[in-house]
């Protein structure tokens, strides 16, 4: 065994019982546990390697508790995160206002964290259209406005779950590539400055 290597920190945020743990459970263990709701205590961490092209990227997923009790503590879980999956329950409009709260929080404290809005429990909507309380287009508009991605998933059926995490891994992979290019690439402004600097130095 070797020490854990994590490439990208991913944090799950959202009101309690929207299904953050179920989403992780579906993605990591490919299963959906039926039974009485059990809230998460504090936060749970799981590392999951994922193939992107010819590379393997390890996502370090932090599944946080939705309870208000841990709110003051939440910064330690999302600090330095490269991606945040902000979950809301498609059948519960109040959970979307909570999602807005987390978006604001992230925009204030973690500007480099990409936001993925995720409407959960899509299977309930499929079964009964009238159960929907959060409009798809409203969320899409909000997502465009804040530069976020938008998914609707079902952990019960697995619908869109792998796609969500794949997108996160791809985005991370691309941004890491961009970052590398930034470092090595030619920046005219930068060059000018350094040129000027050398001049003055002489």
């Amino acid at each position: 065994m070797t020490a854990m290597r994590v490439d990208a920190k991913v944090v799950m945020l959202g009101k309690e019982s929207v299904g953050k743990t179920s989403l992780v459970e579906r993605y990591v263990h490919h299963r959906f546990l039926v039974g009485p709701y059990q809230n998460t205590i504090g936060a749970a961490f799981v590392a999951k390697p994922i193939n992107v092209g010819d590379k393997v990227i390890t996502l370090g997923i932090w599944d946080t508790a939705g309870s208000e009790r841990y709110e003051a503590m939440s910064r330690i879980y999302y600090r330095g995160a490269r991606a945040a999956i902000v979950c809301y329950d498609l059948t519960d409009s109040s959970s979307f206002s909570r999602a807005r709260f987390w978006v604001k929080e992230l925009q204030t404290f973690e500007e480099h964290c990409k936001i993925y809005l995720c409407g959960t429990k899509n299977d309930l909507i499929e079964a009964d259209r009238s159960a929907r309380q959060v409009d798809y287009h409203d969320v899409q508009d909000f997502a465009d406005e804040i530069g976020a991605q938008h998914f609707e998933t079902s952990s019960k059926t697995g619908n869109n779950v792998d796609e969500l995490f794949m997108k996160i891994a791809e985005d991370f992979s691309n941004s890491a590539f961009e970052l590398m290019q930034d470092e090595k690439g030619v920046d005219l402004g930068q060059k000018k400055d350094s040129y000027l600097y050398t001049c003055c130095h002489h």
Partner: protein, 540 residues
């Protein structure tokens, strides 16, 4: 002779062991450990006591009373009247214990019409009980928690919303009596005991139909209080209510109700919470020593306690030098782990306050199972909330070492027999027992025999032990030993400065037989102590 001490009454403070002329005082050195224990075993030499006296795992105290003592309010001493003043604002002079007998009829009258009104109120969740029903009233033990503004925080049965007026009445009773510079402790009426515990900013009320004493009930309410503090810290609790007196604390406690529910179940069933002791997993001492040493080696700077559990049994506990864990805190950790499936997946990282250690701040606990389907759960308690990956690495190192030294196999084996039948002792009339070694804070007990495996019978047996326990720990007239014959079982309990022993015999047995059984049992425990107890606890 043992028969003579049955039902002997001794005053507190008398050293019982030296009263028995045949027993020489025993020194605490390892070399003096006796092979055939005699009643004179003092603390530190009894079967199950740790090898080196300096290395206890738990907060150490000479007596049960010390262990349960609470700086703010000590229910154990309330009956003596000596520390009553600690319960009111210090300047207030004389305080009196208030017991309202007969006055309870009035309370019943007050309650009923209000409960009827509840029917109009909506918001009763599905599957929740109707608090106006006879079935709700008949529950053996109710527990309510409310704020000083009378706002409901927790109820064991039914919904808090439906009980807001009832809790309002409870607060009114508390305030009314306190306004007269008194403290309401309990109301006895109609086969019910209503016990009050005011621990600002919370008020806890227990209503019991059992034969439990006020003291016992009050102690259980304290446990519930500490359960809440462990989630929030007392500092935060005070802060919240200073800021807003009528704050609805359920917002902050959301999702934790099942922790309190399960704690109350443990209090009904687990003798460890009664005895302030923990049961360890029976394990060959050589294997346990390897496990302890591996945990000891996997240390980190911020680490204070490393605890390995197998279900509700302790495998080992390694602690920072000079830092001791209190039983109550360990039971709260047991309860947290045992009642949450959330640690099954991945690695948990949660703030937790250990209230008997410090009510003001959070520790951060790394909680994970050694394998997804295993019963072995590792809890690493740290002072640093940023130290997750460091502790995760400690776990990895611990596992690596454990596997290398093939102790993992032995541990898995031991998990298959986490308990033993009482027949191993070889006393046919002995049905069940609980033995607590006072100096190690550990106890051992065989599996419940068939007649006691049903839930009600299990709780009845614990109720009997609780009764015996209350006789041994009576605040003013503690008994040294008790023998009681019943229709369904005979009971015997015995306390020395080294151990406490509770036995349950067939009702056909005699007292003489019980006495000889004790000697035989103590010999057996001494013989098995390597396996049943943790004799070599380690520190980092």
């Amino acid at each position: 002779k043992p028969d003579e001490m049955a039902a002997d009454v001794h005053n507190k403070g008398v050293t019982w062991d030296t009263m028995n002329g045949s027993l020489a005082p025993v020194d605490r050195l390892r070399s003096d450990r006796s092979d055939s224990p005699t009643p004179g075993l003092v603390e530190g030499t009894e079967p199950g006591a740790g090898q080196e006296h300096a290395q206890h795992m738990f907060v150490h105290a000479q007596s049960f009373e010390d262990l349960t003592a609470d700086s703010e309010s000590n229910p154990d001493s309330e009956l003596t009247g000596s520390s009553n003043s600690a319960l009111v604002d210090s300047e207030e002079g004389e305080t009196k214990e208030e017991e309202q007998r007969g006055g309870a009829d009035n309370e019943e009258e007050q309650k009923e019409p209000e409960e009827e009104k509840q029917e109009v109120q909506s918001g009763v969740r599905l599957k929740e009980e109707d608090v106006t029903s006879e079935a709700w009233r008949r529950h053996r033990k109710h527990v309510f928690v409310l704020s000083e503004a009378g706002k409901p925080i927790y109820t064991r049965y039914g919904t808090e919303e439906a009980l807001s007026t009832t809790m309002g009445v409870m607060m009114a009773l508390v305030s009314f009596v306190e306004a007269g510079k008194n403290i309401i402790r309990s109301i006895h009426a109609d086969g019910c005991r209503v016990v009050f515990l005011h621990k600002s900013p919370l008020v806890l009320v227990g209503v019991s139909r059992s034969s439990q004493s006020d003291r016992e009930l009050s102690r259980e309410l304290q446990y519930v209080y500490y359960q809440i503090v462990s989630l929030l810290t007392l500092t935060q609790l005070n802060h919240v209510f200073q800021h807003k007196q009528n704050y609805d604390l359920r917002r902050l406690l959301a999702g934790s109700e099942h922790l309190t529910d399960s704690l109350l179940r443990l209090l009904d069933r687990d003798p460890g919470l009664l005895l302030n002791a923990v049961m360890s997993l029976p394990l060959a001492s050589s294997a346990r020593d390897v496990v302890s040493a591996s945990l000891q080696a996997a240390k980190a700077k911020s680490l204070v306690f490393s605890i390995l559990l197998a279900g509700n049994r302790l495998v080992t506990l390694v602690r920072k030098k000079d830092q001791y864990l209190h039983h109550m805190d360990l039971h709260l950790l047991f309860n947290l782990v045992g009642s949450s499936s959330s640690f099954r997946e991945g690695e948990g990282w949660t703030p937790i306050c250990l209230p008997k250690f410090n009510t003001a701040g959070f520790f951060h606990a790394h909680i994970s199972y050694l394998e997804p389907k295993s019963d072995l759960c590792l809890i690493l308690v740290s002072t640093d909330r940023e130290d997750f990956f460091n502790l995760s690495d400690c776990k990895r190192r611990f596992l690596e070492r454990l596997r290398k030294r093939s102790a993992y196999q032995a541990l898995q084996e031991a998990l298959r027999t986490p308990t033993y039948p009482v027949s191993q002792v070889g006393i046919p009339e002995l049905w069940h027992f609980v033995y607590k070694s006072k100096s190690s804070g550990l106890y051992t007990s065989p599996e419940l025999p068939v007649p006691y495996q049903r839930e009600e019978e299990h709780e009845r047996l614990i109720g009997l032990y609780r009764y015996l326990h209350s006789c041994l720990h009576h605040p003013t007239r503690p008994l040294r030993s008790v023998y009681r014959c019943g229709d369904t079982e005979n009971l015997f309990a015995w306390a020395t400065s080294g151990f406490e022993l509770y036995l349950c015999f067939s009702p056909l047995g005699t007292k003489a037989l019980a006495m000889s059984a004790v000697t035989k049992l103590l010999k057996w425990i001494r013989k098995e102590e390597d396996r049943l107890f943790i004799l070599n606890p380690l520190t980092y």
